[in-house]
Amino acid sequence: MLHAVGLFAVLFGTWILLSGHFTPFLLIAGAVCAALTVAITLRMDLLDQQRDFVGPVWRLPLYWLWLAGQIILWSLIVARQVLAPRLDIDPVLQRLPCSQRSDLAKVMYANSITLTPGTVSTDVGDGEIEVHALTRAAMEDLKSGDMDRRVSATEAKRTKAAAADAP
């Protein structure tokens, strides 16, 4: 139920932000559209019922800031490699361990890896993640486990519900 209400809030908020008009007719139309979408979503059983993603939310902005810094840093490094007169790349494909338990945190870790230029996640499994890196240096940086720890820190503590969900 919480998920449905949350989805409705997000949809209706998006409607308001995108329309920018606040006449009663348009607001009601937006609410009806959002409610209809939520109803269809519920009927199609598309809502994710996993409970364990409410972690220490206040850590997320900190993580995003750190990630933004990493992205800029690695963008510059990859840019230098792209513009170098001789291509100095040495791509590697490797499986790395990851410590996230919930699916959401795993997705977050994999997406963070992909967002950082120089590394792309290619497969996510149980407790490990396959990564393609443009250079060995990029792979070593990931192997240090810094990002892995930071993502895990935003994860919720293991609760009973989460333990039941986890395989």
Binding site: I71, A79, V82, L83, P91, N111, T114, L115, P117
Partner: protein, 110 residues
């Protein structure tokens, strides 16, 4: 005035990263290595460009839309890239490495 200068700088950086991404897409030897420079466009390129536009917007609705575009890009681009890499690997595409380049065996669809 300071805002203007900041936004110009930001747009210039964004344009530079977009250009680098384009060059990388053309220059890199195989699909997997092309994804890395391509990712620069979606993150640093789009980020700095939209930040520059944001500083010029002056209207909160416009600013919100710019932020939304960036957020959509941040959520969709890694998923698309990951799906692409995953699909290509499942299809049997082998990543280019230094050794394989010397062996000169070619892969990919004829």
């Amino acid at each position: 005035m300071i805002l203007d200068i900041l936004s110009w700088i930001s747009i210039a950086i964004g344009a530079f990263f977009v250009l680098v991404g384009g060059i990388g897409i053309w220059r890199m030897p195989d699909l997997f290595s092309r994804m890395h420079p391509a990712g620069i466009i979606d993150t640093a390129g789009a980020g700095f460009l939209l930040l520059g536009l944001l500083l010029q917007s002056g209207d909160w609705l416009v600013s919100v839309k710019l932020v939304l575009i960036f957020v959509f890009l941040l959520f969709t681009s890694p998923v698309a890239t990951h799906a692409l890499a995953h699909a290509a690997l499942l299809d049997g595409l082998k990543p280019w490495t230094r050794r394989r380049d010397k062996a000169r065996d070619k892969d990919g669809e004829p």
